[in-house]
C-alpha cells in the first residue's frame, strides 16, 4: 500500500486548478501574441505606406527640382540654377533605391518603378543634360529647337503618370492589407470565445471528476460506519476503499481502530467467559482442567500443562493438576512436578515473569498429532500470582505464534486467576474441615448412642445379675429357710385367698348395702305413691291420682333399673339371667301410652303409637329387658325433644326382608322404631353414644342431664335378646332408633357370635367416665360408680404385683367438690394419700410446707388463683422444677394446652376424666 503511488485529494484538486490556470495562461499568451502581431502588422503597414509615400514624393520632388533647375539655368544661364539640379540628380537615385528595395516583395511595383527610373534617366539624358550643354554652348537655336519639340515635357508627363500609377497600385495593395488585418481581427475574436469555452469545459470536467472520486469514497466510508453502528456493535465489519488517498487513510485508521476494539472486545468477552466457566468449581483439579481447556481454546494452543504449588517439608513443589493436548492419544503430557528454578518453567516461577519463547530449545518435546510429532513454534509460560507469591504456573505451546492479543488475554486472565485458585483452595479446605467436623459430629452421635445402649445394657445386666445373685442366694439357703419360705408362701397364699374372700365379701356387702340404701328411700316413695294413687279419700283429682300412679310406676322402673345396674356386674361375669317367655304384644301400645303420655303432655309433644296389624300377638322374649329397652329409648326421645313429636312404631319384619343369618335364628323378627324430632346426634357420635356413660357432648349433659348409661344398657340388652339397635340421626332434625329382636321360644343358643358380644360388653364396661356421674341422677350414678370401682379394685389387686400408688401423696387442686370427691374416692382405693386444695393459693401453701407431694393434679378454672398461675409459681417461685404437675383441661381447647405447657405443666389430661387414662398418667409420672 505504501509502495503504491499515492494520489491524494490535495494534488487532485491542485492539479485540477493548475490545468485550468495553465489553460487560461495559454489562452492569454496566444491572444496576446495575436493582438501584438496584429498591431505590428498594422504599424508596419502604416509606416510602410508613409515611407513609400514619402519616398515616392521625394523622388518626384527631386525630378521636379531637376526640371526647375534646368529651366532656370536655360533661361538665365546662371549657374546658380544648376546647383539644385545637380543636387537632385545626385540624390534621387538614393531615394529611389530605397523605394525600390521596399518593393522587393512586389515585383509589379518594382517594374513600375523601373519604368519610372528609365523614364527619368531618359529625361536627364535627353532633356536635362542636353539643354544645359546647349545653354553652355550658347547654342540658343538648338535651344530654341530643342524646346520646339520639347521632349522633356513628354518625359516629365510620363513620370508623373507613372508615379500616379505607382501610387494607385500602392494604395490598392494597402487596401488589401487592411482588409486582411480586419479579417485577422475577426478570427482573433472568434478564437477568444472558442478558448473560453474550451477552458470552461475542461474546468467543469476536472472538478466533477475530482469531487466524484472524493465523495464516492467518503460515502463508502460513511456507509460502512453506519453499518457498524447499526449492527449492534458487531465489530467484524471493515471499511474497504479502493482509492489511495486520505479517505483510504481514514478508512485504514478506522479499520485499525475497529481491529483494536474488536481485539479488546474479544479480550473482555473471553475474560468474562472464562470467569463464568470456573465459577462454582469446587476442586482445584476441576478448576485447573476447566481453566486449561478454556485457555487453550482461546489461544489456539496445541498443548499445555497446569501446575499448582504444594508445600511439603517447607519446600515448594509444583504439582501438575491438569494438562491439555488437542488430541487424545496422549492425555498425560508434561512432567509431573518440578521445583523452583528447575528448567525454564522453574525459572519462570523464580523470576515471577511471563516467558515467551519463539526459538524452541532443541530438547523440547514435540507436540504429537495423529500422524506424527511436530515441534511447537512458540511456548508461553505464565506464573500465576497471589499476593506476590507464585501459587501456580501454566505452560502453553502452539504450532503457530501467540499474538499480542492472546498474550494480553492470558496475562489479564491470570491476574485474577490467582485469587480464584486461592479461593477454591480455601473452599476446599473449608469443605474438608466441614466434612471432618461432620464426621466428628456423627462419630460423637454414634458414640453417644452406643454409650446409651451400653448403659442400658449395663443396667439390664445389673438387673439380671442382681436377680441371679438373689436366685443364687435363695438356692444356697438351707432346707430350713426353704421350709420357712414355703411356709411364708403358703401363708401369703392364705392371706391372698383371705383377701380375695374379703374383697368378694366387700363386694357382696357393698351391693347389699347399696341395694338396701337405695331401696329404703325408694320403698317409701313406692308405698306413698301407691297410697296416693288409690285415692281412698277422693281428695285428689283424677289427674293427681294418675300422677301418683306415674310416680309409682316410675319408682318401680327406677328400682328395676337399680337391679339392672346390679345386674350389669352379672353381665360382665356372664351371669345375667335372661328369661324368654311368652309376651303379649297387643298390650304393649297401651302400656307405653300409659307411661309416656303424661310426659308428652307436660312437654307439649305429640306422641304417636303405631302397631301394624300383622304383628303377631304372642312373641317370645324377655319382657322385662324388652320393655326396659323401649322405655329407655322413649324416655331418651322425650328428653331430647323440645318440640314436635315422638313416634313408636311396631312392625314385623317380612320374611323376604330377613337375611340368611336372621332366618337361622328365628322366623319372627320384630322391629320397633322410636322416632323423634329432637336435637339429633352428629354422625361422628353415633358409635360413641352406645358406649357407657357417653352422650353426644358435654353440653348435652349440662342441658338434659342423664347418665349416658341408658343406651349402653339398651344395646347390651338388645344383644342379650338376640337382636340389635340401629340409629339414624341428623343433628337438629331428629333421631330414629330401631330395635330389632327375634322371637325365641327356646331362648338364645349361646353361639360364637354371642360370645363375642359378651366380651365386647365387658370391654365397654371397663372403660368409663366417672366425672360426669355427679351431674344428675346421682343415685343411679353412685350405684354404677361404686360397682365399677369395686370391680376395678379387685382387678388391680389381682394384676398389680407392686402397687405404685401405695402411700403416694397426691395433691388435688380443684374448686368443685364433686370432682374432688370422685378423684379422691377412686385414688384412695389404691392406697393414695390425698391432699386437697380449693384454689391455687392453697395449693402453693401446701406445697411450701409439704415436701412429700408426689404429684399435683391441677384444675385450671379456679377462683382466686387459676391453674396456670399456680403452675407458673410452682415452677418459678417455689422452684419445684421436677414435681409432676398434671393439668386437668377442657377437651377441645388447644389453646389451653399450649398455655399449660407454657405455665410448666408436666402433662395434661382432658376432662371429663377417664379413670383408665388417669391411672396410666399417674403411673407414668410416679415412676422414678
Amino acid at each position: 500500500m505504501e509502495n503504491k503511488w499515492k494520489f491524494g485529494i490535495r494534488p487532485k484538486i491542485t492539479i485540477g486548478y493548475i490545468i485550468i490556470i495553465v489553460c487560461l495562461f495559454a489562452s492569454v499568451i496566444i491572444l496576446n501574441n495575436q493582438i501584438r502581431s496584429l498591431q505590428q502588422e498594422r504599424n508596419f503597414l502604416l509606416q510602410y505606406n508613409n515611407k513609400v509615400e514619402t519616398l515616392t514624393n521625394n523622388v518626384e520632388k527631386f525630378v521636379m527640382d531637376m526640371q526647375a533647375g534646368q529651366r532656370g539655368f536655360v533661361i538665365t544661364g546662371n549657374e546658380i540654377y544648376l546647383e539644385p539640379y545637380y543636387k537632385a540628380a545626385g540624390e534621387w537615385q538614393i531615394e529611389f533605391k530605397e523605394l525600390y528595395q521596399l518593393m522587393a516583395d512586389k515585383p509589379d511595383q518594382q517594374q513600375k518603378l523601373q519604368v519610372v527610373r528609365e523614364t527619368t534617366d531618359l529625361w536627364i539624358e535627353e532633356a536635362g543634360e542636353n539643354a544645359i550643354r546647349l545653354k553652355r554652348d550658347n547654342d540658343d537655336a538648338a535651344i530654341q529647337q530643342f524646346y520646339a519639340n520639347d521632349r522633356g515635357r513628354e518625359y516629365m508627363q510620363s513620370i508623373r503618370n507613372q508615379f500616379n500609377d505607382f501610387r494607385e497600385s500602392e494604395r490598392e495593395i494597402a487596401q488589401v492589407r487592411a482588409e486582411e488585418l480586419d479579417k485577422q481581427n475577426n478570427n482573433l475574436t472568434g478564437g477568444l470565445f472558442g478558448l473560453l469555452l474550451t477552458v470552461s469545459i475542461i474546468a467543469i470536467v476536472i472538478s466533477s471528476q475530482v469531487s466524484k472520486s472524493i465523495v464516492r469514497t467518503i460515502n463508502d466510508v460513511t456507509q460502512t460506519i453506519k453499518k457498524i453502528a447499526s449492527n449492534n456493535g458487531d465489530l467484524k465489519e471493515r471499511i474497504h476503499v479502493n482509492t489511495n488517498d486520505e479517505i483510504n487513510e481514514l478508512a485504514n485508521a478506522t479499520n485499525d481502530l475497529l481491529d483494536n476494539l474488536d481485539g479488546r472486545e474479544w479480550l473482555q468477552t473471553n475474560l468474562a467467559e472464562i470467569v463464568t466457566k470456573y465459577q462454582g468449581v469446587a476442586s482445584i483439579e476441576a478448576l485447573a482442567k476447566v481453566f486449561m481447556s478454556e485457555i487453550a481454546k482461546m489461544t489456539n494452543s496445541s498443548s499445555g500443562a497446569f501446575y499448582v504449588r504444594e508445600i511439603e517439608d517447607n519446600r515448594n513443589h509444583f504439582i501438575k493438576n491438569a494438562s491439555f493436548a488437542d488430541n487424545n492419544f496422549e492425555k498425560d503430557i508434561g512432567r509431573e512436578s518440578f521445583r523452583i528454578g528447575q528448567g525454564l518453567i522453574g525459572q519462570c516461577v523464580q523470576e515471577k515473569q511471563t516467558f515467551i519463547f519463539n526459538e524452541i530449545p532443541e530438547d523440547y518435546r514435540y507436540i504429537s498429532t495423529g500422524l506424527g510429532e511436530v515441534p511447537p513454534r512458540s511456548i508461553f509460560i505464565v506464573p500465576i500470582l497471589f499476593e506476590g507469591d507464585v501459587i501456580a504456573v501454566m505452560e502453553l505451546a502452539t504450532m503457530s505464534e501467540y499474538s499480542k492479543l492472546q498474550q494480553d488475554l492470558v496475562k489479564q486472565i491470570v491476574e485474577t486467576f490467582g485469587l480464584s485458585i486461592n479461593s477454591v483452595i480455601g473452599r476446599m479446605e473449608i469443605i474438608r474441615l466441614l466434612n471432618e467436623s461432620r464426621a466428628m459430629t456423627e462419630e460423637l452421635q454414634v458414640q453417644s448412642e452406643e454409650l446409651q445402649t451400653q448403659s442400658e445394657e449395663l443396667q439390664m445386666q445389673t438387673e439380671e445379675l442382681t436377680q441371679i445373685n438373689e436366685q443364687l442366694e435363695e438356692k444356697t439357703k438351707d432346707a430350713e429357710t426353704k421350709n420357712k419360705e414355703l411356709e411364708k408362701i403358703r401363708k401369703e397364699l392364705e392371706e391372698k385367698a383371705e383377701q380375695l374372700t374379703l374383697h368378694s365379701n366387700y363386694k357382696s356387702e357393698f351391693l347389699a348395702n347399696m341395694s338396701h340404701e337405695l331401696r329404703t328411700p325408694l320403698n317409701s316413695i313406692l308405698i306413698l305413691s301407691e297410697m296416693l294413687a288409690e285415692n281412698d279419700q277422693g281428695r285428689l283429682t283424677d289427674e293427681d291420682a294418675e300422677f301418683a300412679n306415674v310416680i309409682h310406676s316410675s319408682g318401680e322402673d327406677l328400682l328395676s333399673l337399680i337391679n339392672d345396674i346390679l345386674d350389669l356386674s352379672k353381665v360382665e361375669a356372664g351371669k345375667l339371667e335372661v328369661l324368654f317367655e311368652e309376651v303379649n304384644l297387643s298390650e304393649l301400645p297401651q302400656h307405653m301410652e300409659h307411661v309416656f303420655s303424661p310426659i308428652a303432655q307436660k312437654k307439649n309433644l305429640e306422641f304417636h303409637i303405631f302397631k301394624e296389624d300383622d304383628v303377631i300377638d304372642l312373641f317370645f322374649t324377655d319382657e322385662k329387658r324388652f320393655q326396659q329397652i323401649l322405655k329407655n329409648l322413649l324416655s331418651n326421645a322425650f328428653k331430647f325433644t323440645e318440640e314436635g313429636s315422638v313416634a313408636l312404631t311396631i312392625k314385623q319384619i317380612e320374611n323376604q326382608l330377613q337375611t340368611e343369618e336372621m332366618r337361622a335364628i328365628s322366623k319372627d323378627w320384630l322391629e320397633v322404631t322410636i322416632a323423634d324430632t329432637g336435637i339429633g346426634i352428629p354422625a361422628d357420635k353415633h358409635e360413641l353414644i352406645f358406649e357407657t356413660f357417653q352422650q353426644a357432648d358435654g353440653a348435652t349433659v349440662r342441658k338434659f342431664g342423664g347418665t349416658g348409661l341408658g343406651l349402653s344398657i339398651c344395646k347390651q340388652f338388645a344383644r342379650l335378646l338376640g337382636g340389635w339397635i340401629t340409629l339414624q340421626s341428623e343433628e337438629g332434625v331428629g333421631s330414629v332408633f330401631k330395635l330389632v329382636v327375634p322371637s325365641l321360644p327356646n331362648g338364645l343358643i349361646l353361639d360364637k357370635h354371642l360370645n363375642i358380644d359378651y366380651s365386647e360388653v365387658a370391654v365397654t364396661q371397663s372403660s368409663y367416665e366417672p366425672s360426669t356421674a355427679f351431674v344428675s341422677d346421682l343415685a343411679r350414678l353412685d350405684v354404677q360408680k361404686q360397682t365399677v370401682i369395686e370391680k376395678d379394685e379387685v382387678l388391680v389387686s389381682l394384676h398389680d404385683h407392686t402397687n405404685v400408688f401405695q402411700n403416694k401423696n397426691i395433691l388435688i387442686v380443684d374448686d368443685d367438690y364433686r370432682n374432688i370427691y370422685a378423684l379422691k374416692t377412686a385414688l384412695e382405693k389404691r392406697g393414695v394419700n390425698i391432699l386437697v386444695a380449693k384454689d391455687g393459693i392453697e395449693c402453693l401453701d401446701i406445697l411450701q410446707d409439704n415436701t412429700e407431694i408426689d404429684i399435683v393434679l391441677m384444675d385450671i378454672m379456679m377462683p382466686n388463683m387459676d391453674g396456670y398461675e399456680a403452675m407458673y409459681r410452682i415452677r418459678n417461685d417455689l422452684q419445684l422444677k421436677e414435681l409432676p404437675v398434671i393439668a386437668l383441661t377442657a377437651k377441645a381447647m388447644k389453646n389451653d394446652r399450649d398455655k399449660c405447657l407454657e405455665a410448666g405443666a408436666s402433662d395434661y389430661i382432658s376432662k371429663p376424666l377417664n379413670l383408665d387414662q388417669l391411672f396410666s398418667v399417674l403411673r407414668v409420672w410416679l415412676v422414678s
Binding site: 469443605i431 452421635q445 448412642e449 445402649t453 407392686t802 398418667v921 415412676v927
Partner: protein, 284 residues
Amino acid sequence: MDKQGENMKLEEVYKQHEDLEIDFLLEAIYRLSGFDFRQYNRSSISRRIHNRMNINGIETVTGLLEKVIHEEHFLESLLNDFSINVTEMFRNPSFFKTFRKEVVPILRKYPEIRIWHAGCATGEEVYSMAILLEEEGLKDKAVIYATDMNEQVLEKARKGAFPIQKMQAYTKNYMLAGGNYAFSEYYKADDQYAYFHPSILENIIFAQHNLVTDQSFNEFHVIICRNVLIYFTADLQEQVQHLFYESLSPQGFLGLGDKETLRFSQVTEKYQEIAGNERIYQRV
C-alpha cells in the same frame, strides 16, 4: 524414645492385624446371615466388637469369629450388638413440629400417602409419626412402611409397648412437638410398660429390610431415616442416599437425623432444604 517408637510400631502392627480380623469377621457375618456391616463406620463396629469380647471374655477377634461360626445363636446375639437401637418418641420434637407445619399441609392434598420409615428400630418414631398423622386427620389415607434389618427390634415395635420410665420424656417431647391432645389418650400403662392403643398400629406395616443390601420396594411421598446413616461409611451413605432418591416421588420429602446432612452428597442438588435446620429435604 526408641522404646516408645517401638511400642508405637507394635501398636500399629496390632491394629493392622485386628483390622484384618474384623474384615474376616464382617465377611463371615455377611456370608452367614446376609447382614452386611462391611461398609459400616469401622470405629463404631470395632467398639461394639470389643464390647462383646469384654462381656464374653474373649481375647481376640478371631476368637469371636470362631464362636460366630461354630457356636449356635452366638451370631444372633452379636448381630443384636451391632444394631444400635437408640430412639425416642418424637425424638427432636422440633423435627416433628416442623413436619406438622411444613410437610403435612402438602401431604394433605394427596389422595394417598406412603411413608417409609427406614431403620425404625423399636418403632418409637413410627408411632410418633402415626400419632401425628392421626391428629392431622391423615391416618386413614396414609400407609407407613416401617423397616429395620433387625427382626427382633421389629417384633418389639409391633407390640407397641414402651418402658414406662421413658414416658415422662416422651410426654415432654409430644407436647414440644405440638401434640393436639393429651398424650395419655394414646396409651394405657401398667407398672412396666405403656401400651399404645392398637388403633395406632393400623396402617403401619413393619417389615424387615436392609438398607445396605436391599433395593427399593415402592415409591414414597415421605422417607424418614434418622440417625441411621451416621453408622455408615461415606460411600455407603452415598449409596443409601441414591436409594432414597430413587424411592422418593417427585416433590417427596426426606427426613434425616439432626446430625446428618445432605450437604456433601452427590444428590444435594436434587433436594431443597425446607424450614431451616430440621433436616427435612424436598426433592426438586
